[in-house]
């Protein structure tokens, strides 16, 4: 990474975030600020190199709503698996569905793939470049597809993007 094309704003923001993380890691100790600064700068530099900053506005409210939605569904997902595992008859009816994503490529789609894995009944198994996602479901009778659409809406709102032509 050369200094010339270093986006200063993003660098400062990320550096600050990493410095905060350092503070957490170092158990709040302040005698390590020297090395901490080195670490934060190095991490920020690496992060800028790996994830060049993209203009994107993430609203606080949307984030909170998304997190709530996600946590709640994680809990549901966990409970569902637990129930299936502990029931005398798990009642599985697995299948692999293929759905086309309405989200634009990049971070939104990737977040979706990761999130569905942690949500009830579904597991991302393959994301193609053209936006088709193969999803493994525990029980084909459950409305997984509908929940996916809900998730899509949350993510679209989070990133402030429009959902493209959903099928």
């Amino acid at each position: 990474m050369t200094i010339r094309n270093l986006p200063l704003g993003a660098f400062l923001v990320r550096g600050l975030a990493f410095a905060l993380l350092w503070w957490v890691l170092a158990d709040g100790r302040t005698d390590a600020w020297g090395l901490g600064a080195v670490g934060a700068v190095a991490a920020a530099a690496a992060s800028l190199r790996l994830l060049p900053p993209v203009r994107r506005r993430i609203g606080i409210a949307a984030l909170v709503r998304f997190l709530a939605f996600f946590l709640w569904n994680s809990l549901r997902g966990g409970l569902q698996v637990a129930v299936m595992a502990l029931r005398r008859r798990p009642g599985l009816r697995p299948a692999i569905l293929e759905i086309s994503l309405a989200l634009p490529p990049g971070a939104p789609r990737l977040l979706l793939v990761n999130a569905i894995t942690l949500m009830p009944g579904s597991l991302g198994a393959r994301l193609s470049d053209d936006g088709r996602l193969r999803v493994h479901v525990l029980d084909a009778r459950l409305p997984v597809a509908a929940e996916l659409r809900a998730l899509e809406v949350h993510i679209a709102r989070l990133f402030g993007v429009a959902r493209g032509g959903a099928s």
Binding site: F18, P105, N114
Partner: protein, 222 residues
């Protein structure tokens, strides 16, 4: 029949060896030399706060110097087995895993620096830090962001050797003080940190290199 007999004989012999060993260990009197006391007594002059780190980088720092050499040697061996002049093309990427790598790697850099710092006060230090750094590189390679290695170029070689070389230069320079690696107590902490910082980078590269060079034979990139 014969292999079976051989098996049985080996296992029987091993079992009796293990038994004898355990009994012999139970039978040991208390040792005549007590090094923890000596370590304790010299902690103040060691330049670090954690006794294991003190032993590792000061009292028995010479072992560690050679040990870094061993690690570098292993990489040399791996490179020598099948040196390929041109680096293989990066593996085809996969966006989901790639995204994870892009997020995790900077965090791992931070954690590595943290572990390096933590070495002075708790178990940890250059080796763990280097391992995390190396793991970050491996992750980037696995997800197709970092290409595999052919023959490392000059900059990479410098990075690989830097930690060892710094260690070596410090060892040689301190010979002027009377002995290899005889740190003056006042400078010990700083010198050890310098060595550890160098080692972190180099060990990270070496460990990553071990993996990346290994992956040349996996047939994945072909």
């Amino acid at each position: 029949m014969i292999p079976l007999l051989k098996r049985a004989a080996v296992i029987l012999a091993a079992a009796s060896f293990a038994g004898a060993l355990v009994f012999a260990m139970l039978d040991l009197p208390a040792p005549g030399v007590h090094l923890p006391a000596a370590v304790e007594a010299n902690m103040a002059a060691s330049g670090v706060a954690h006794p294991v780190t003190a032993v590792l980088l000061n009292f028995r720092g010479y072992d560690t110097l050679l040990e870094v050499g061993v690690l570098l040697l292993a990489l040399l061996g791996v490179l020598a087995v099948g040196a390929r002049a041109t680096p293989p093309a990066p593996a085809p990427g996969e966006p989901v895993k790639r995204m994870f790598a892009r997020l995790a790697a900077p965090l791992m850099v931070l954690v590595a620096v943290y572990l390096l710092w933590a070495g002075a006060i708790q178990p940890g230090g250059a080796f763990q830090a280097g391992a995390v750094l190396g793991a970050a590189a491996v992750l980037l390679h696995l997800t197709g962001i970092l290409p595999g290695w052919g023959a490392p170029g000059l900059r990479l070689r410098a990075g690989l050797a830097a930690g060892f070389l710094i260690f070596l230069v410090v060892a040689g320079a301190l010979l002027a003080q009377g002995a290899v690696l005889a740190y003056p107590p006042a400078q010990a902490g700083r010198l050890i940190l310098l060595i550890e910082a160098g080692l972190t980078v180099s060990l990270g590269l070496i460990l990553a290199g071990l993996f990346l060079a290994l992956s040349r034979d996996s047939g994945d990139e072909a």
